[in-house]
């Protein structure tokens, strides 16, 4: 059984075991190591990607479910995109393991709710853990990307 899907807009055909995690398919079959494994249990969000535009933990998605799906990973987010630029400008990263998942959660949140409040941000990123530091700069980056922060 092979699964045909698109990854970051490119048609891809996975011949991995259908019960295999999308996370492993991305990293090992397609050489996209930007998606990180944190806990492997859906607790930390480091492996978050978009599946058909919806945020999902790739460690919990069996590739057998993805026939015809559109997957977006951190490699599909351009460095000059508003979200990536806001993370850079706000210093919203430290060791970097959580960053791809944080960015993907932000992309998903802003797509559904471009005028989000700080409370929306807290909820939207609630499944993404950062173990280096606090979340203040990350939340600032999301709000800046949303254009909600006053610029002075």
């Amino acid at each position: 059984m092979a699964v045909e899907m698109t990854i970051n807009g490119l048609p891809c055909r996975s011949t991995a075991d259908p019960a295999c995690r999308l996370l492993d398919v991305l990293r090992e079959e397609f050489g996209l190591p930007g998606t990180k494994e944190g806990c492997g249990e859906g607790e930390c969000g480091a492996c978050a990607v978009l599946v058909d535009g919806q945020l999902a933990n790739s460690c919990l998605v069996p590739v057998g479910q993805l026939e015809g799906a559109a997957v977006t990973t951190i490699e599909g987010i351009p460095a000059n995109s508003p979200v990536a630029q806001a993370f850079l400008a706000c210093g919203a990263t430290q060791c970097g393991i959580c960053t791809p998942g944080m960015v993907m959660a932000t992309v998903a949140l802003l797509q559904d709710n471009p005028r989000c409040t700080r409370e929306d941000v807290r909820r939207g990123l609630s499944g993404n853990l950062c173990r280096c530091t606090g979340y203040a700069r990350i939340y600032e980056a999301v709000l800046q990307a949303a254009g909600d922060l006053p610029h002075d």
């Binding site: 492997g40 919806q54 999902a56 069996p62 909820r123």
Partner: protein
Amino acid sequence: MTEWRRPRHLREALELLGESPDRYRIVAGGTDVMVERHLHPENAPAGWLDISGLSELRGIARLETGELRVGAMTPLSAVREDAAVRESWPLLAASAAVTGAPAIQNRATLGGNICNASPAADNPPVLLAYGAEIEIASAGGVRRIPYSAFHAGYRRTVLGQGEMVTGLWLKPVPRGSRQYFRKVGTRAAQAITKVGLAAVVPFGPDGTVRGARFGFSSVAETPCLARTTAAALEGRSPLAVPSGEIGALLEQDIAPISDLRSTGAYRRQVAARLVREALQAGHFQ
């Protein structure tokens, strides 16, 4: 390579299950079974029956009878956002919104949360409090039973060979009922519940309790109804129930254990306080 079956029609799925019920493990959203597969690869099944392609099992419909049917494959994000659920069964929207976090809610399904049969699951207390019914199908037909009869023991259900859950049915809530949901955990998102309570408390014209239902998580080997407590409160004013009495009544209904998340003593205390809060100030949290 693992056998992976992804039928497009319910009938086909039920026939596969009927032919070889022990062969397949059902996967819906995958958020529980994929964790199990990763932690215990030695327990992997011979085949997977992927029901995520069964559009018949997705969706929420309000019927002319006033009942609500939620398809078993409906993701929790859709339950959380549904207008009818939010308006008339708000506890279900509240429990869906605190099951994991958004990435989980986009994949995890209501049926899966129930069939995984964890005593700590977040949606079962609400279904118990609403007196929901569960729709179960096999190649031989469909049956509906009270959800309160679904859990048979620790992580066991009454599902027979070749059966699967296809939907949940909710009745309208009596007007003027107080509704309450609270999940107690280490943090708001992702945490596995230490104690959870969903309560529906209808009142008679004289302000006394009439037919209250208290659904708990994480205080027994299955999600459970506090039947003794509810019976003892019948016909009484909620303000006239001493808090010590609630704790004593709950001893008949719950049997919390000490584990890595909490202690039995803490769970008993919190359970009693949640019931008191539900009686005095219904809200959602």
